[in-house]
């Protein structure tokens, strides 16, 4: 690996450079439109928004790498957040609430993973159905009345800083590094890429693809539960729509970040760039005074444009 001559063609074509150029460009545009946005405090508050999506996107990246997509983000986040808040209120102990939310994360992941891996249900259909189930589960569990609120620890995570950086952003970076390590340096990571490229070859190589898939869905759902808890810290209280906006932009961020929508290629570092780009675009839209509905239209358009531009490479199969 040492002292390789730099291949400039490859650098220009690389996803990394494209992402950096987009980030710097969008940042400068937002700064020109609204000079206040160049303030460090604003940068930090943008990063705080990024960290929720970023942690959700750990799950989304892993699932898309296996060739799937998770369309149950909205209520995976909301349901686990509600479980955290309500259990904490009922038991008076934030740790029990946390444990309950984590357990819900694992169970959600097992449910989706078993459906996809063993029952061979297409990931999109399986997760969309799961979303619908979790939505009803949320209403049944709360009986239509949201209970509970953030705890001191969780609020501190979302609002307090260490050396000027919010704890939740630090947590995102730490989880991000762990994810990159998982993908690049572990046998499990290798298996994730292999399954995404060709489940058939993976099977014939003696790798248990089903276990890999279930593992991925469990990690993904636990990450969504973590994001749900952090969001409570950010918002103060749970609400029924807290997860909705993440459904599509989580996929957009992963694809912008250079992960193939067909699976098998990409990584989490790119996704982190994709997350930042999504929020830079959002902030420009806010400066331009475009209403919520308009922003949703733009979000949808971004996904389509990104998919047209790249990420539709050919998949190895028949």
């Amino acid at each position: 690996m040492a002292a390789k001559s730099l291949d400039w063609k490859a650098v220009v074509k690389s996803t990394g450079l494209r992402l950096v150029v987009m980030m710097v460009g969008l940042y400068l545009v937002s700064g020109i439109l609204e000079p206040n946005y160049l303030q460090p405090s604003h940068i930090m508050s943008t990063l705080v928004l990024c960290c929720f999506l970023g942690i959700i996107c750990i799950g989304q990246t892993l699932i898309i790498l296996t060739g799937g997509a998770d369309l149950s983000v909205a209520y995976s986040v909301t349901f686990s957040a509600c479980v955290f808040a309500q259990t904490t209120k009922e038991t008076g102990n934030g740790w029990i609430g946390f444990a309950a939310a984590m357990l819900v994360g694992v169970l959600m992941g097992l449910f989706k993973g078993v459906g996809v891996a063993y029952l061979k249900i297409t990931p999109m259909v399986m997760t969309l159905a799961t979303n619908s189930i979790l939505m009803s589960a949320t209403f049944l569990y709360t009986q239509g009345v949201l209970k509970g609120e953030s705890t001191a620890v969780v609020t501190a995570l979302a609002k307090d800083s260490f050396l000027g950086i919010r704890y939740c952003v630090l947590l995102w970076v730490a989880l991000g590094i762990a994810t990159i390590f998982l993908l690049k340096k572990t046998t499990f990571g290798r298996k994730i890429f292999a399954v995404g490229c060709s489940p058939r070859v993976t099977d014939l190589s003696g790798i248990n693809t089903q276990v890999v898939l279930v593992g991925v869905y469990v990690i993904a759902s636990v990450m969504m539960a973590v994001a749900g808890i952090l969001l409570i810290g950010h918002l103060g209280y749970p609400n029924y729509t807290m997860g909705d906006s993440y459904q599509l932009i989580s996929i957009a961020a992963v694809v912008i970040g250079g992960t193939s929508i067909l699976g098998g290629h990409g990584g989490y570092l790119g996704t982190m760039g994709g997350v930042v780009i999504i929020y830079l675009i959002q902030s420009i839209l806010i400066i331009l005074n475009i209403a919520e509905a308009g922003r949703e239209i733009v979000n949808g358009a971004i996904i389509l444009i990104i998919l047209l531009a790249y990420g539709r490479g050919k998949k190895q199969s028949a």
Partner: protein
């Protein structure tokens, strides 16, 4: 230009000096990144001839025909059709000039029927542009009958055997009624019966209808049967064109390899008389395998023969746990085992090298290194964390042992030539250290040099205590390597040939089901 005219006269068959070639290429060059695939190369094919292109893998044959049929764009050079300069930049251009091609890699759409695939983009439509399905099936049925193929046009391509898919691919090309038909390793998936059908078809096209055929195959005996003239390529360059029969086989090999050929002969490993590595008792599976009894001796190469599609592939896959036997007993080293999935098979020291390296053997878009280590992740990691040092060691060993020609193991495996890809598949399987190796048609579509290397490797492996089950569609390989051959017919072992009984005649007799049990010496 002058040089080419002279050469053309010299290389043409008698009586053809004055004829204009049906298709001609001149000064064709093509680079893929840093690799030169063709360097100022040329070829000519006249009406009424089967012109074979020969050379090792990577010599430039396939690139040449891919340029002619618009799959690959040339960097420079000219293409002429009946003396007229033509421009081919896409598959549509080629089709407009009545050029059709069949490749080893299948291009069929798996979820469409045979008929739809044949007519793809040329479907009969009604006034409103809707595809007329009744007509499509009737027309396909009539067409298949006309060309003499027994295929049901309504069947989904997914449900066909590899051999049948290849036939559909050929039918699809024939339907375009091409003036120039390109067959690039199109016989590699076919059984002997189908090959004969194709050769009859080719004879009709060239000798009766005056079409031109460009034919590429790694099987010398096939070339012998069909070639009128041949062009040799070596290292991306044109070497020579000659009427078939003017050169001896040894001379051809010399021109192909650029060096004198070494006689290939190997000691057939007989295996241990007492130790059995693998045994099957009364094993059956669905409709494809019936009541199989076989013993694999330790250290032998057990040949599996027969026409393609008679259960050989299913047997090897079942032995690797890819589709379990329904009934019967399996013994490994004398202990009864079950093989319900690939992991169980591996745990008993059985590994499969699948016949379809592109779909079953390799992940083409991932690196050579990742592919090699895919089956031995445990041995290159410490409790789940990859060790760069161990990984490099395993890859370096494999690259050296298999003499894989590669600049860097970080390149995608799809960038390698067919022969080197096959070496990666073998390296990947050997990395498991499993001692029972199931080799399913490992030399399909690879060059003579690599084939020989694989034969020597197999012989070497038996010395190291490996036992090999070897299925091949190429009889000469079985004759070369196997002391014992099982001939399959309709999912049964029609005959077990041993020692002197292993002859071409015996294998053919048994594989068409007329052996009747006794074997001639």
């Amino acid at each position: 230009m002058k040089q080419i005219i002279e050469e053309g006269a010299a290389g043409a068959a008698p009586g053809q000096e004055t004829m204009v070639p049906l298709i001609e290429t001149a000064h064709i060059s093509k680079r893929f990144g840093g690799i030169v695939a063709l360097n100022d190369a040329q070829m000519k094919c006249y009406r009424g001839e089967t012109h074979v292109l020969i050379g090792e893998n990577g010599a430039g044959k396939s690139t040449m025909v891919k340029i002619i049929c618009g799959v690959t764009a040339r960097d420079s050079g000219d293409i002429y059709m009946e003396g007229q300069k033509i421009d081919i930049n896409s598959a549509q251009d080629a089709q407009a000039h009545k050029i059709a091609a069949v490749f080893q890699e299948l291009s069929l759409i798996q979820d469409l029927s045979v008929a739809e695939n044949i007519f793809l983009a040329n479907e009969p439509r009604n006034r409103f542009g809707r595809i007329n399905f009744r007509q499509i099936y009737d027309k396909a049925q009539a067409f298949l009958q006309e060309i003499g193929l027994d295929l049901n046009p309504r069947v989904m391509v997914r449900n066909l055997t590899l051999c049948q898919m290849q036939l559909v691919e050929i039918a699809k090309a024939l339907y375009k009624d091409p003036d120039v038909l390109i067959l690039d390793e199109a016989t590699s998936a076919l059984g002997e019966k189908e090959v004969k059908w194709l050769f009859d078809m080719m004879h009709k096209l060239t000798k009766e209808q005056g079409k031109g055929i460009l034919f590429i195959s790694h099987r010398m005996d096939e070339l012998r049967q069909v070639a009128d003239r041949a062009t040799i390529f070596r290292d991306a360059r044109y070497v020579m064109t000659f009427p078939w029969g003017e050169l001896e086989d040894e001379e051809i090999v010399e021109h192909i390899s650029g060096k004198k050929s070494a006689e290939t002969s190997l000691e057939k490993p007989k295996g241990s008389e007492t130790e059995t590595a693998l045994e099957l008792v009364n094993a059956s599976k669905g409709t494809c395998l019936h009541n199989l009894n076989l013993k694999l001796k330790k250290g032998e190469i057990l040949g599996i023969a027969g026409l393609s599609g008679h259960g050989q592939v299913e047997l090897l896959h079942a032995l690797f746990g890819d589709g379990e036997f329904d009934t019967g007993e399996i013994y490994v080293d004398g202990k009864q085992v079950r093989l319900r999935n690939e992991r169980e098979a591996l745990s008993h020291g059985i590994v499969l090298i699948p016949e379809d390296r592109k779909n079953d053997g390799l992940i083409l878009s991932r690196s050579i290194g990742e592919n090699i280590t895919m089956m031995c992740l445990k041995s290159i990691s410490n409790s789940g964390v990859l060790s760069g040092k161990k990984e490099k060691g395993v890859i370096a060993d494999a690259v050296e042992r298999m003499s894989i020609k590669v600049h860097s193991a970080d390149l995608p495996v799809g960038s390698l030539s067919g022969g080197n890809q096959q070496k990666v598949v073998i390296a990947k399987a050997l990395s498991t250290k499993a001692k029972i190796v199931l080799l399913s048609d490992p030399t399909r579509g690879i060059d003579i040099g690599t084939k020989t290397e694989i034969y020597h490797l197999m012989a070497q492996l038996t010395q190291e205590g490996y036992s090999i089950v070897f299925y091949s569609t190429e009889m000469s390989e079985l004759l070369l390597l196997c002391n014992r051959v099982l001939v399959f017919y309709e999912g049964r072992i029609a005959a077990e040939l041993e020692g002197d009984q292993v002859t071409e005649k015996n294998i053919i007799t048994q594989s068409i089901g007329v052996g009747g049990g006794t074997n001639e010496k």
